[in-house]
Amino acid sequence: MSNEMHTTNINFMGQRHIALALSIVLIIASFAGLWLKGLNFGIDFTGGTLIELSYPQPVDLPKLRTDLSEAGFGSAIAQHFGSAEDVLIRIAPREGLNSAQLSNQVMDSLKAVSEDDITLRRVEFVGPQVGDELTEDGALAVLYALFGVLIYVALRFEWRFSVGSVTALIHDVILTVGVFAWTGMQFDLTVLAAILAVIGYSLNDTIVVFDRVRENFRVMRDGSPVQVTNIAVNQMLSRTIMTSLTTLLVLLALFFLGGEVIHGFAAALIVGVVVGTYSSTYVASAVALMLGVSKEDLMSAPKEEKDSEAAELELQRLFHEHEARLEAKAATKGKRLDDEDAEGIPR
């Protein structure tokens, strides 16, 4: 058979302590980023006014800034947005100022000093109160999502897996946010949505691995939890790579072609997919192992509540199936059996 047909045999779980150290370092780095640099919150959260303008030719930012401060908008932040012709102006919320009228005033004062034909591309104004509410709602949404996952996985699998997957998700969220802190990319509502999507994606990945771990625990007669998990991760490796690759491909398309507005969203998802793929192996499974997940836990906690008789029947069925499979294997491909031995699948 072709080379592709081999199951890889990388000792993922053997390196889990190194991975753990790496994760801890990265998490500390993320917190350090949050502490030292903080997040560059968008006006969705801080409140304020954002104006995107388009000029027919490249804009001289220093001059624009002087124009703005002469017009009384000294606190305004002006920067290029996507291209040299486009500028983004951010103005922090001010007490006592009718912010809803602010965009018009800025537009007027810039038009007054410029010969160019300025086009207004976008105006966003968020009141400080709304900003606070969004921050609160956003934090709540992430918490609700994590809590929902905790319950679902505990019901569907086992509490150790549940803790493992939630740890992985928290890990992903912290690292993604950490990247945003260090790079200073703007953290707005779409980035928050992306982080929630990352939770969904990373979870998807984790569940797929867990599903195989559970199946292996049932099918394999012996082998330590570490070995069983390792085999599951190896079995799912090509799938994990393929799915991450397809997802990353479309995300890169979004990042490079989707336009400036969707940039942060795509960036958050790209970071999230990479981190999520790593964490479903090294964090979720490793934590479940560390908590001492064992064959018995999964055997006695099938999907639905079954009485012991049914569980016994199920076990017997699985046993027969496995037996039959081994027979078939021995009958058809004697050579392959040796291969499998070499790969260390315990029987």
């Binding site: 968020v126 009141g127 998807n204 398309a253 989707g258 795509a266």
Partner: protein, 631 residues
């Protein structure tokens, strides 16, 4: 056990599954198709309030357009308004100004983009997706209604009323004042001694126990009764205030001439206003931020309003006003009472005549003026004038000029049947709806709670078009990359998965079109992400088949691959769906769009990736002796 199973596995699907697939594909294609046809520039003409279009209007409109030399692509009259399509935007803009001149204030003339869906598709109810503001350009406002003021106004309204009640019952009070802030707000009624206070409490209890909670303070020099509004009354007041503001906003947005405005309640104190296609936000804000008031005036019966309108001269002591439908009327210069004297207005049914009516309550000062006027004018008519003030900035020769614009409309004129003071009815209204509208207008002019713009999102037309182009570009590029990767990795099976992925994209678009969901840029991102993740199901299945092929014959490997991967796929997708639901329930507009497309994508991908690919694979390999799979 295993051996016998193997003989049964032939991987043949029953005919009904193929039929189901074909039916769904056809439906998907049909409903996704309208999105290919783009839009026609159009002008939408809707009647102003209390105006109805007739066949005469229709021919007038047609003739005017012909006279102006504007070729009409098609003109439809449905649901009470005209939709006139043009070949190009130039004609569209000209037609708008021509029609505006023709119909004046009788109609709202708005620019619109009408989907150019062919007839046979429209007959099936198929229409394209609705583009969100970030794609078509427009304005989104979030208005916050000042509920604290609404409640304070409610307290202030009762001051005079309570004074009156106590006077009627001959209980002497010292003062009636609104005291305290925010939640501790209360009406304090002070008395000179305890016995008077007790008597006062009894009187107040009898009349106001349904609306107020009572507390007494007896230790002070002048004992007092504190009345605080019950939570139920406060909730009602706030609901009223919100409803009233929504109504006011509706009327004002009509003036802006927007084709498909959205005015919606959000939460218990916010209103969302979405105006697609509006670019001049300054003007939109001015119109939405107008203040309204009311005036009650006597009708001047001596002159002929039509003649006065022709000549432009009103008889002495009178002014020409107009009803909303444009009919002129002469009113006396002297104002009887104005909006600030109106305490409340509510609609009801006149028990004597059975017709609809509006109950109006004035404050003490207003009541006295009203009594003095009505005493001498029984049998004459009294009109209610609704006045809207706003500031409009107009550019004249490059200089910005702020103009105060005042709209005065007569909303009602009725005969005074007898003398009255602070409580009276306006009867003889045509319908309960008219009574409700009038009551709302009276309240809007009198006691609307102020509102404030707390969020604004404006997207210019150039950005909107860029967003559409970039969005579609990224979908196409991402999609093609995935197709290539799948074909490379899984050969024939990958090609089958690609067919399923294409079908998935078509079904997502069809479902979004059927739901008439709003497509936003994050929504497009959701579609892109779904495309990337939808192949996961096929990847899981194909990897499993490869694995099974090592231990089982080909037919059973295919079978087992699908069977065993299914549990994993279901588990994984349910968890993602869970995250999408959380997103939807917490999110605002654009995030909701993302959550919707993601959820739809997850569900449709389960169908196409499992049932769809299996059907094709079965067709290709089922019930055959195969030595090698192209996977």
């Amino acid at each position: 056990m295993f051996e016998s199973k193997q003989n049964i596995i032939t991987n043949v699907y029953p005919a009904w599954k193929y039929l189901l697939l074909v039916v769904i594909t056809v439906i998907g294609l049909t409903y996704a198709m309208p999105n290919l046809f783009g839009d026609d520039p159009a002008v939408q003409v809707s009647p102003a309030k209390s105006v109805e279009f007739t066949a005469e209007t229709q021919s007038k409109v047609a003739n005017t357009l012909q006279a102006a030399g504007l070729p009409v692509k098609s003109s439809v009259f449905e649901a009470g308004h005209f939709l006139i399509r043009f070949e190009n935007t130039e004609d569209q803009l000209k037609a708008k100004s021509v029609l505006k001149d023709l119909l004046g204030r009788q109609a709202v003339v708005a620019l619109n983009l009408a989907p150019a869906t062919p007839h046979f598709l429209r007959n099936l109810g198929a229409s394209p997706m609705y583009l969100g503001l970030d794609l078509r350009g427009g304005v989104h406002f979030l208005m916050d209604v000042d509920m604290e003021t609404a409640v304070s106004k409610a307290y202030a309204r009762y001051v005079d009323e309570i004074k009156g009640t106590l006077r009627e019952e001959k209980v002497r009070y010292l003062t009636v004042d609104v005291e305290g802030e925010a939640k501790n707000k209360a009406l304090a009624v002070k008395f000179k001694d305890l016995p008077t206070m007790q008597a006062g409490l009894a009187v107040l209890n009898a009349s106001y126990s349904d609306r107020f909670k009572f507390k007494t303070v007896e230790e002070t020099a002048s004992p007092q009764v504190l009345l605080s509004l019950s939570p139920k009354t406060i909730a009602e007041t706030q609901k009223y205030a919100l409803q009233q503001n929504i109504n006011t906003l509706r009327n004002r947005v009509n003036e802006l001439g927007v084709a498909e405005p959205v005015i919606q309640q959000q939460g218990d104190r916010r209103i969302v206003v979405e105006l697609p296609g509006v670019q001049d936000t300054a003007r939109a804000k001015e119109i939405l931020g107008a203040t309204a008031t009311l005036e009650f005036r006597l009708v001047e019966e001596k002159g002929d309003p039509y003649r006065a309108e022709k000549t432009g001269y009103a008889p002495n002591g009178s002014i020409i006003y107009h009803f909303r439908d444009g009919k002129p009327i002469l009113l006396k210069r002297h104002t009887i009472v104005s909006g600030e004297n109106v305490v409340n207005a509510s609609s009801g049914i006149d028990s004597q005549q059975g017709s609809s009516m509006v109950n109006v309550t004035l404050d003490g000062a207003g009541g006295r003026k009203m009594l003095a006027t009505t005493k001498e004018n029984v049998g004459n008519r009294m009109a209610v004038v609704f006045i809207e003030n706003r500031v409009e900035t107009i550019e004249e020769n490059g200089v910005k000029v702020k103009n105060r614009i005042t709209n005065k409309d007569v909303i009602n004129a009725a005969v005074i049947r007898g003398q009255f003071a602070d409580r009276f009815q306006i009867t003889g209204l045509d319908s309960p709806q008219e009574a409700q509208d009038l009551a709302l207008l009276l309240r809007a002019g009198a006691l609307a709670a102020p509102m404030e713009i707390v969020e604004e999102r404006t997207v210019g037309p150039s950005l909107g078009q860029d967003n559409i182009n970039q969005g579609f570009m990224s979908v196409i590029v991402g999609f093609v990359l995935v197709l290539i990767l799948m074909a490379w990795r899984y050969k024939m099976f990958g090609m089958v998965a690609n067919v399923a992925l294409t079908l998935n994209l078509i079904i997502i678009i069809a479902v979004l079109s059927m739901l008439q969901a709003t497509l936003t840029l994050p929504g497009i991102a959701g579609i892109v992400l779904t495309v990337g993740m939808a192949v996961d199901a096929n990847v899981l299945i194909f990897e499993r088949i490869r694995e099974e092929m090592r231990t089982s014959p080909i037919q059973s490997a295919i079978h087992a691959g699908y069977e065993k991967a299914f549990v994993t796929i279901a588990d994984a997708n349910i968890t993602t769906l869970l995250a999408a639901i959380v997103l939807f329930s917490f999110g605002t507009g654009p995030i909701k769009g993302f959550a919707i497309t993601l959820s739809i994508g997850i569900i449709t991908s389960m169908f196409t990736a499992i049932l769809g690919t299996r059907a094709v694979i079965n067709l290709m390999y089922g019930n055959k002796r195969i030595q090698k799979l192209s996977i």
